[in-house]
Each structure stands twice: as structure tokens, then as C-alpha cells.
């Protein structure tokens, strides 16, 4: 039993440093309507709905329940939620469509980092007994990884600066991006990372629609077929990992079939410049591949949505005919602990 499943629509918010005037639901609603409008579907037509978000960002328990009210889950819908980036909600929806229980799926995710200090908040996802009490923040952990790369001779500070410059230059063509155009590489935030090596903190949401087989062709002129999708996790403790490598990203890519033929485009969820270096190596991306034409997570990194946006951006490139075979990647956890890779293809032209 195999079914061809495609991303047929994608929408995202304009990502911004603060959205005080909007609730999460208000932030989400336009993107939900965006993907429904693109396909002509209504909520009642959707076979399965799945979302990703985090209570810790929202600062309250069961925060996803209100978003569900915004979806308009009446009459009742078949629905689920992962407390993960929306990329993993997409994975759950993909398996649901594979079983044949549904032909279409709505996937959405959102996160507001602005109400608190996201660097501090993310320390709460570390080992609660031995590590979290020390409050090592997300930039400090990324800096450990960057320094390990430099020490290993894999990169240097000018090369990292070039990654940042390329990302922000590419983002000038992306009206949703939070940071666009040239900006100074900046002062050190945590050595060896400068502000330019780090993602902006921002709020945002994204949604996609998946459809199976002929349904996908009805809903989209050039569907982005999911040729493979897989995700893998690594150990949590940084002390037992080689931070200069990403075996989980490599394994996920292998299982997703990414190495079978070259890709022309890659959307990598690399919030720090140094992480792009790690991922390029693990995913075997050479200079012939367009990496992060959207600007990537260095231009906009709304927590819980940034990974789903990579899948959406890769799909949109296929929809527009700018890519025939794209790789999309999402990550979660400190220093790229968990990684998802999908391969998206358009019909041959």
C-alpha cells in the first residue's frame, strides 16, 4: 500500500518581533484562511487536522485548545496535536493520510516568543535535574557547538558571517521575513557567535494543506509530492554527542531518500549560522544547491512554526516551478538534537 501525498497549499504570517495586540488565535486565523482560500476547501472538507505548539511559550496549560476554537471544529473534527514544531504535526498528518482514513489534512503551528525571554524559556527543556538548574541558554549552547566547529577546522568566523549575509540578502525577496537586507554582523552575543549569527526572536504562524493522490492534483496545479519523510532523535546530553556532526539529520535524510538523487533546493531549519555548516555536511549539500532562498531561520525564526515553514517554503518553490526536487529540514532541541527531513518533488516537466 502506498499513496502519493503532496503539500498543496502554504501560508505564513509576517513574522514580527512583537505582536502584543494579537492573541495566538488572532495571529493564526489569517494563515488558516490563507490555505483554505488557496484550495477552495472549507474546514468541514478537511479529513484530518493536526497542530504543533508549546504551552511554555504561551505561558499557560492547554494553550492549543483555544486555537482549535479558531479552526471552527464544529461539527466535531478528527484532530490531534503534537507539543513539537509543526513539521512533526505534518509528519503525523502524513501517516494519517497513508492509512487511507483521510484524503486531506490541515496542519498548522504557531508560537509567540515575545511575551517572555525565549533564551531563558528554552533552558526549561533541558535535563531538569542536572542541567536546567544551571540555566544554560540556547545561544550559549549554540556557541559551544560553533566553537567546536571552529576548533575542528570546519569553519571560521568569516565563513559564518558569509552565511548570515547570504541569508539576509536572500530574505529581501521574502516579504514575510523579520530581518531583511544587509545588517552588520554585530557584536559578540556569546563568543564566537555575534548577533548576526543568531536568529531573530519573533512571533509567527504557518499552515499547510496535504492531499493524497488525485485530490492533490485537483487542489493544486503543481503539487509538491512528499517522496520521503523521516525524523530521528539523538541523545539529549551534549557531553555524549559530537556537536560538529548531525548523525540524526543524516539518517533521516537517508530514510527519506534524499541521497538517491540530487536536490536543487534546500530549506534548512538552522537558527544559527554554525548549524548550517553542520547540516550542509550531514545532508551532503554542495554549492550547486540553493540553500534557504527564503532567508531561512536567520531571517525569521518563530518558535514551533519555523520548521513547518521550511516545508512550506520548499513546497511553494515546487508550486511556483522554481524547484523540481527540494529538501526540507526541521529541527528541535538543543544543538540540533532532533531532525526531520522531507524530499518534495514536482511532476516532471
Amino acid at each position: 500500500m502506498t499513496r502519493d501525498i503532496a503539500l498543496v497549499a502554504f501560508a505564513q504570517t509576517d513574522h514580527r518581533r512583537t505582536t502584543d495586540e494579537l492573541s495566538e488565535v488572532e495571529m493564526l486565523m489569517p494563515v488558516l484562511h490563507g490555505v483554505l482560500d488557496q484550495t477552495g476547501l472549507r474546514t468541514a472538507d478537511i479529513g484530518f487536522t493536526c497542530s504543533g505548539s508549546s504551552d511554555y511559550l504561551a505561558g499557560r496549560a492547554f494553550s492549543f485548545t483555544l486555537a482549535l476554537d479558531g479552526v471552527g471544529a464544529w461539527p466535531p473534527i478528527s484532530e490531534s496535536h503534537v507539543e513539537m514544531d509543526g513539521a512533526w504535526a505534518l509528519y503525523e498528518a502524513w501517516t494519517k493520510l497513508l492509512t487511507g482514513d483521510a484524503d486531506t489534512a490541515l496542519v498548522y503551528s504557531y508560537g509567540k516568543s515575545s511575551p517572555g525571554s525565549v533564551r531563558d524559556v528554552l533552558t526549561r527543556q533541558l535535563d531538569p535535574y542536572y542541567v536546567a538548574p544551571l540555566w544554560p541558554d540556547s545561544v550559549a549552547l549554540a556557541a559551544l557547538q560553533a566553537q567546536a566547529l571552529i576548533d575542528a577546522g570546519e569553519t571560521d568566523e568569516p565563513a559564518l558571517a558569509a552565511v548570515a549575509a547570504r541569508s539576509r540578502a536572500d530574505a529581501t525577496a521574502n516579504s514575510h521575513a523579520q530581518l531583511r537586507g544587509s545588517i552588520p554582523q554585530g557584536d559578540y552575543l556569546v563568543r564566537p557567535l555575534r548577533t548576526g549569527d543568531c536568529p531573530p526572536i519573533g512571533d509567527g504562524a504557518a499552515a499547510v494543506i496535504l492531499a493524497a493522490g488525485e485530490r492533490a492534483r485537483e487542489l493544486c496545479e503543481r503539487p509538491a509530492w512528499i517522496r520521503g519523510i523521516d525524523h530521528r532523535t539523538e541523545a539529549h546530553s551534549l557531553g555524549v554527542r559530537d556537536l560538529t556532526d548531525s548523525p540524526s539529520a543524516r539518517l533521516a535524510a537517508e530514510k527519506a531518500g534524499a541521497f538517491e538523487r540530487p536536490v536543487d533546493t534546500a530549506e534548512l531549519h538552522a537558527p544559527f549560522t554554525s548549524q548550517e555548516v553542520v547540516l550542509r555536511k550531514a545532508l551532503r549539500l554542495d554549492d550547486t544547491v540553493r540553500v534557504n532562498p527564503s532567508g531561512g531561520a536567520l531571517a525569521a525564526n518563530p518558535m514551533m512554526a519555523a520548521g513547518l515553514i521550511r516545508l512550506g517554503e520548499a513546497a511553494a518553490a515546487v508550486h511556483r516551478g522554481e524547484s523540481d526536487r527540494a529538501l526540507a529540514h526541521a529541527t528541535s532541541g538543543p544543538c540540533l538534537q532532533q531532525n526531520l527531513v522531507a524530499v518534495l518533488e514536482g511532476d516532471p516537466r
Binding site: 496549560a61 485548545t65 471552527g72 513539537m84 497513508l98 526549561r124 527543556q125 535535574y129 532523535t233 539518517l251
Partner: protein, 388 residues
């Protein structure tokens, strides 16, 4: 196009208690997972993926704990998903794991749900102040009490029914070595004399706060053939959600619950649940939810659920036993509670439920709900594989 049949070949629980101070969160989940693997006679290497669920992260104060738990659950190098659908999460987690097998993405999946409520305070975890929104009114009991009252008014049920459920479930728990509350001196009079908390819900008609974890090994037909003990087969499974608050919502018998049950029965070919289903593990955190859910699940006509309870039909030796394990009323590690219902249903059809085994149980329902009675997840398991 057909789905791969899904079998439960391993089940593991911790002894549920108020506080497991002897283990970390990782130690707790590892214990349940290890027992499930032992039951299936499998090793960590036999597991293709891990699907983990729990209720809000605020209950332990760990954000996205699946990251930290990857090592403890043998997930390194494997796919790991974290599900969160409020109180229904234990059931939803099992269903997400089952879909991985049904879709033939993986052959054998470990699924686990837990809560270590002693790490924090669930009541306050649910009571963070939120602008422009009603709080949960002093914990879950405050939210659900008015809906119990509405049920009593609507059906004319006498106010003695709730205590009958609590008395039954607490006695059943005495037969379940993993249950949290073992009240050896429980009597109906003691339940009825317990303090009123949220009228009409008395202290002894509420669930405890527990530390605990539950794990299952789900596998395909080939995996089931290698199982050392009888597998339980999934005959149907579904999730349904509806909005929290809106004018048309029936809090006494939510449409999402009815739709979810109807979907499960359709998949399993059940036309008359009252006759064709042998027993049920139903999510009853407050005693009155037994008669309420009996109606919502189609075991009784509207307004008639309390009569089943009152007549003893749902007792362990009745003809539709409900919550043979002692239920949520006796054991409530919130995020795991739904999975315990699913796992206990599977134990029954495998004939492995020990002292609380229902003789000849061939088809048993596992049920979970969450949020403001808005998220539902259910499965029906059987001793024989699905025919279609």
C-alpha cells in the same frame, strides 16, 4: 487499499502512587517501558519508533520533556513523536503510534504516557492567570460539577448514583496491584459521608493525583505472530475534537464523543455496543461521568445511563463491567490515564488482567477524554484479529 492490522503484544505499568520520590522522570518512564518490552519479550533494538504523550508540560515544569527522555526510552537514532491532547492524550498517543503501524511506516512501535504529578502541583498548573478568559474555576472539579448537576436535572437521576460508582471503582482497585488507591476499609457509607468539594461531587467521588507511567508495544501482523502471549487486536480507533466553548455545545453529552464512538463502532462492525462489547475502561475522573459516558458511548439510551449503574450492570460481575481496574477514580497520572484505559482494555482481551479479569472478555472498549469535554480518543480491542 487496506491498513496493516495493529496488535498489542506488550503492556507495562508502574505501581501508581502519590509520589515516586525514588525515581526521576526518566526512571519512571523507563520502568514502564521495560515492563512492556519484557511482556512482549523484545529488546530495545526491536523498537522502530517511540511515541510519547503526557498532559501539560507545566505539570512537571519541563518543556518538551521528550527531548530529555530520548535516552531513557531507547529512542536515540529513532523517530520520536510527542503528543499532547489534554486529558485524552494517553489514548491519542496510542492511536498516533497505532497509525505508524497501520500505515506500514514502522513494524513495531513503543508508545508510552506518563505524569509525575508530585514534581509540581496540577491544580496550579491549570490555574495560571490568563487575561480575558475564564479560569478553570479551582481545578477540574469546579469546571465539571455544573455539568454533572445538569445531567442529574436532565435525567432525574437520584443523587445516590455517584457514590455507587466510587464505591465500585475503589473495590475494583483492590484487585489491581498497580492501582494507586487501595482503600481496604472502603464502604458505601464512607463514600457518602465524605466531604462535599464541588456540589454534587464529594471527596471520595474524585480522582487522586498520581505519579505513574504506562507503556505498550504495538506491532504488525508479523510481530503479532512472534508474540509469546496472546495479542490484543485493534478493531477500531478514532479521535474527535470540538471547540471548548460555544453556544451549541452540550456539555452533558458532547457530540464529539458520540461521533468518536460511532466511528470506532463502524470500523469494528459493532451495531449494538451494549450487546456486542463485553466490558469498557472509561475515563471517569468524577464518579458521575460513568452514567454520563454510558449514554454518550451508546451503551444506554439518553437519560438511562444511571439506571445501568444503579442496577449493578457495571459491577465487575455485571454484564457490562466498567473500569475493572479501578479506573481514573483510583489512579490518575493525568497524561497516562487515557493510555491506562487503552492498556487495561487490551489486558482484558488478552486474558491477562489477573484478579480483575472479566471472564471471556473478547471485545473491550478503551476511552479517554480531555479539555472541557472536547477531546475524545477511543479504541476497541479484541481477542481475534480484524476480519476486514
Amino acid at each position: 487499499m487496506s491498513k496493516e492490522p495493529v496488535a498489542v503484544t506488550g503492556i507495562g505499568q508502574t505501581k501508581h502512587v502519590a509520589a515516586r520520590r525514588d525515581v526521576s522522570i526518566a526512571g519512571l518512564v523507563r520502568e514502564a517501558a521495560r515492563r512492556a518490552l519484557d511482556d512482549a519479550e523484545l529488546s530495545w533494538a526491536d523498537i522502530d519508533a517511540v511515541v510519547i504523550g503526557k498532559a501539560p508540560d507545566f505539570f512537571e515544569g519541563v518543556m518538551m520533556p521528550e527531548l530529555y527522555l530520548a535516552d531513557a526510552l531507547g529512542a536515540v537514532g529513532k523517530p520520536m513523536l510527542r503528543v499532547h491532547t489534554a486529558g485524552s492524550v494517553g489514548g491519542s498517543t496510542a492511536l498516533v503510534a497505532a497509525n505508524l503501524v497501520a500505515a506500514r511506516v514502522h513494524g513495531t512501535v513503543l508508545t508510552l504516557a506518563f505524569e509525575k504529578q508530585s514534581e509540581s502541583n496540577a491544580m496550579w498548573g491549570l490555574s495560571l492567570p490568563i487575561p480575558f478568559q475564564q479560569p478553570l474555576l479551582a481545578g477540574a472539579g469546579g469546571f465539571f460539577a455544573p455539568h454533572v448537576r445538569a445531567y442529574m436535572r436532565r435525567t432525574g437521576a437520584p443523587d445516590t448514583v455517584g457514590s455507587l460508582v466510587a464505591y465500585k471503582d475503589r473495590r475494583n482497585a483492590l484487585k489491581n496491584p498497580y492501582a494507586h488507591l487501595h482503600e481496604h476499609d472502603v464502604t458505601l457509607e464512607k463514600v457518602q459521608a465524605s466531604p462535599m468539594l464541588w456540589d454534587p461531587i464529594r471527596y471520595s467521588e474524585t480522582c487522586p493525583s498520581s505519579d505513574g507511567a504506562c507503556a505498550m508495544v504495538l506491532t504488525d501482523r508479523a510481530g503479532a505472530a512472534r508474540s509469546p502471549r496472546p495479542p490484543a487486536w485493534m478493531l477500531g480507533g478514532a479521535m474527535r475534537s470540538e471547540p471548548t466553548l460555544f453556544a451549541g455545545k452540550d456539555f452533558v453529552s458532547p457530540q464529539a464523543g458520540k461521533d468518536c464512538a460511532a466511528d470506532v463502532y463502524r470500523q469494528a462492525g459493532i451495531a449494538d455496543p451494549r450487546r456486542e462489547i463485553d466490558a469498557a475502561e472509561i475515563y471517569v475522573p468524577f464518579s458521575w461521568y460513568e452514567p454520563m459516558w454510558l449514554e454518550n458511548l451508546g451503551f444506554a439510551d439518553e437519560g438511562e445511563g444511571w439506571k445501568l449503574t444503579e442496577s449493578g450492570v457495571t459491577e465487575l460481575d455485571g454484564d457490562l463491567p466498567v473500569n475493572m481496574s479501578g479506573g481514573v477514580l483510583s489512579t490518575n497520572p493525568i497524561g497516562a490515564s487515557g493510555m491506562i484505559r487503552f492498556a487495561e482494555a487490551a489486558l482484558q482481551v488478552r486474558g491477562q488482567a489477573g484478579e480483575h479479569q472479566v471472564e471471556g472478555a473478547r471485545r473491550v472498549l478503551g476511552h479517554a477524554y480531555g479539555g472541557g469535554s472536547q477531546f475524545f480518543s477511543m479504541w476497541l480491542v479484541g481477542s481475534e484479529p480484524p476480519t476486514s
